[in-house]
């Protein structure tokens, strides 16, 4: 079986993790530390 080049593996991993984070954002298990990193209220 032909192996994927490392560059393509890294690109696929990046893309999949971006979408995984997007899915994870919808779940209640999303770590609070991540949520607070991407959140701020007015003038905070």
């Amino acid at each position: 079986m032909k192996m994927m080049p490392l560059k393509e593996v890294l690109l696929a991993l990046w893309g999949v993790s971006c979408v995984f984070m997007y899915v994870f954002d919808l779940c209640s298990g999303y770590p609070e530390v991540m949520r607070s990193f991407f959140t701020a209220s007015y003038l905070q």
Partner: protein
């Protein structure tokens, strides 16, 4: 139902009619365009001209239903002729498009179907939530325009009236033709379709194939920053289509044929986008200017390297001439806007300096450092939606695109780099304003290089191609849930109920039925000439004559500065009703408690947040 469909149909026909007439003037100098591109160009051209004409009608205090209907009917009749004349071409195109879709592989058929379903779901935003800002301003101003037959500064938002009002004027025209309560908001969704066609055209012009073009459109449909605005009632989305058109015509001008009218059109659409949403000027204007002068700048740099300074001067002179043509089109849209400001506010730019520090310095720094991620995962104050995660996921795939042999000729490189420079302008000038909708056109354009990279990965096949396909499918499936987690935009049940009973005001007031009930209570009690003092921003459901006489900014500032004299001034200024918002103005309670002897505040409606009162003399 008639009043939900007819006004929108007539407005679209009038855009096509006015656009076709203007296009006829330019057609002989323009290069041949495919019918789909010609039709959307005609549509947006007509939209800009009709909106400007209606604005002048409003400034002349002639915005009556008869005048609006007459103007739109004349233009709409020409629009009917245009549709009739291009109908056969569209029929051919539809047949070719259908056979093209039939040739798709099953997975691409599925992706295409998902995209169509997602777009169609936009109809369900008719029963979805209305944005707070729409209830405060963006739908309230059109209601006043439609009632008073004139464009006037909205009391309480006098300073804000210096922003462009073209979109509000179009909404006012829909209201004037009988569209009930908040339903004109749905036009924002319909208006997004031609914008997506332009995005498709822009991707094509950059050399993307069928998959890449479709992916660019999917990025436009899976960006929740756009989806939450489909039926939210705000007007930000109106600027997206013209911003795509501005970039597209700047790129088309590279070909040489019809350069002058193309530069003029690019300027016209850049101006239209900027008047629809003033914030677009910051990222879009520099991006489009650089895009149209990309080749001359490249030539000038090359010549300067060789020391041919005389020829550099020649390059700069030809650039100056191009910018002049672009500026003419740009000014054609901007000058009426400045005229409106001069007429209404006695000032070209308005009297208020907009606040640009919306977050603390440390938060702004965090935002800047996390920028591409924050655009996709951010949940900042007033942000609403995000950019499609596909842009972030596919961005590194640009590494797979073969390096252009000649950067001067690479449209994709030019569009990507100039859009990035446009974004850099935004980050440098107003880093603390983090609202993707303020520069959404430029953001979505940045999805084109990402889509180009993904297309290369798909053509290579293998594991990377499968991960790209998986990312597309998962993102599309989750977009409605992602949107719902931020804003309840889609509501099929409420939409069905609303379609059966479009005149039901309370039904169309989600998520603020209590606000609506407070306004309706005042409407019922205020049969005389009493004014309403506003301790809230939200006002849409008040009767239009009450909306026109509510407390002004000046009155609010002066009267609330001294609690002891507040109620005396309240009566002297002719106020009789009092709307108090416990959340936004918690100190309104103190004013109620400071009511002098001899008077009572009769509760008309008491909700959890908003309460309405009537001032009466005490019976004793």
């Amino acid at each position: 139902m008639f009043f939900l469909v007819f006004p929108i149909l007539l407005l679209i026909l009038s855009f096509l009619g006015m656009g076709a007439l203007s296009y006829l003037l330019l057609r002989r100098w323009l290069p041949a365009m495919p019918i789909w591109l010609e039709s959307v160009t005609v549509y947006f051209l007509g939209q800009g001209i009709i909106a400007t004409l209606l604005m002048f009608l409003g400034l002349a205090k002639q915005f009556s239903p008869t005048a609006v209907l007459s103007a739109l009917c004349v233009s709409g009749a020409v629009g009917g002729w245009y549709i009739w004349s291009v109908g056969p071409k569209w029929k051919d195109l539809a047949a070719r498009f259908a056979s093209g879709v039939k040739a798709f592989s099953p997975i691409w058929k599925g992706i295409f179907l998902l995209m169509v379903l997602l777009l169609m779901a936009g109809g369900m935003t008719l029963g979805g939530n209305v944005e707070g800002d729409a209830i405060a301003y963006y739908l309230a101003l059109p209601k006043v325009i439609a009632y008073s037959h004139a464009i006037v500064p909205l009391p309480g938002y006098e300073h804000f009236s210096s922003v462009g009002v073209l979109a509000e004027v179009l909404v006012a025209a829909l209201m004037s033709m009988g569209m009930p309560n908040v339903s004109p908001r749905i036009f924002s969704w319909l208006n997004y379709f031609p914008a997506l066609v332009l995005l498709f055209g822009l991707a094509q012009r950059c050399g993307l194939g069928n998959w890449g073009r479709l992916l660019a459109v999917i990025i436009g449909v899976t960006s929740s920053a756009a989806v939450v605005l489909w039926g939210g009632g705000k007007i930000d989305l109106y600027a997206v289509g013209p911003s795509f058109a501005a970039c597209l015509f700047a790129l088309m001008a590279w070909e040489g044929q019809g350069r002058k009218p193309l530069l003029f059109l690019s300027g016209f659409f850049c101006g239209l986008a900027s008047v629809f949403k003033l914030s677009y000027i910051i990222p879009l204007l520099p991006a489009v200017l650089l895009l149209l002068s990309w080749q001359q700048l490249a030539d000038a740099i090359q010549v300067a390297r060789g020391g041919g300074w005389n020829r550099v001067g020649k390059c700069i002179w030809s650039l100056f001439y191009d910018v002049l043509l672009f500026g003419f089109g740009f000014a054609l849209m901007l000058v009426p806007h400045f005229f409106k400001n001069l007429y209404l506010l006695d000032s070209l730019l308005g009297n208020s300096v907009p606040q640009t520090a919306w977050f603390s310095e440390s938060t702004t720094m965090r935002l800047l450092l996390s920028y591409p991620l924050a655009l996709t995962y951010g949940r900042y104050w007033a942000q609403h939606g995000t950019l499609s995660p596909l842009v972030l996921a596919f961005a590194p795939l640009v590494l797979l695109i073969p390096r252009p042999l000649d950067w001067r000729e690479s449209r994709l490189a030019a569009l990507s780099i100039t859009s990035l420079i446009g974004m850099a302008f935004w980050l440098a000038l107003v880093p603390s304003i983090f609202m993707p909708r303020y520069y959404l056109g430029t953001l979505i354009i940045l999805g084109i290089p990402a889509a180009a990279g993904a297309e290369v990965a798909l053509r290579r096949g293998g594991g990377l191609a499968y991960s790209v396909l998986a990312a597309i499918v998962v993102t599309m499936l989750l977009t409605p849930m992602h949107v719902k987690s931020r804003f309840n935009a889609f509501n099929p049940v409420q939409t069905a109920r609303y379609l059966l009973d479009p005149g039901n005001t309370v039904l169309a007031s989600s998520p603020m039925p209590s606000y609506c009930l407070a306004h309706l209570a005042i409407n019922e009690a205020a049969q005389d000439d009493g004014r309403v003092f506003m301790f809230t921003y939200y006002r849409f459901w008040l009767r239009p004559e009450l909306l026109m006489s509510i407390s002004t900014n000046k009155e609010f500032g002066e009267m609330t500065s001294d609690m002891n004299t507040f109620w005396d001034r309240f009566r002297e200024a002719g106020f009789k009703y009092f709307l108090a918002d416990k959340n936004i103005f918690p100190h309104s309670k103190d004013f109620i408690e400071a009511l002098p002897d001899g008077y009572i505040l009769r509760p008309l409606y008491q909700g959890e947040v908003l309460s309405a009162y009537e001032l009466q003399e005490s019976p004793s």
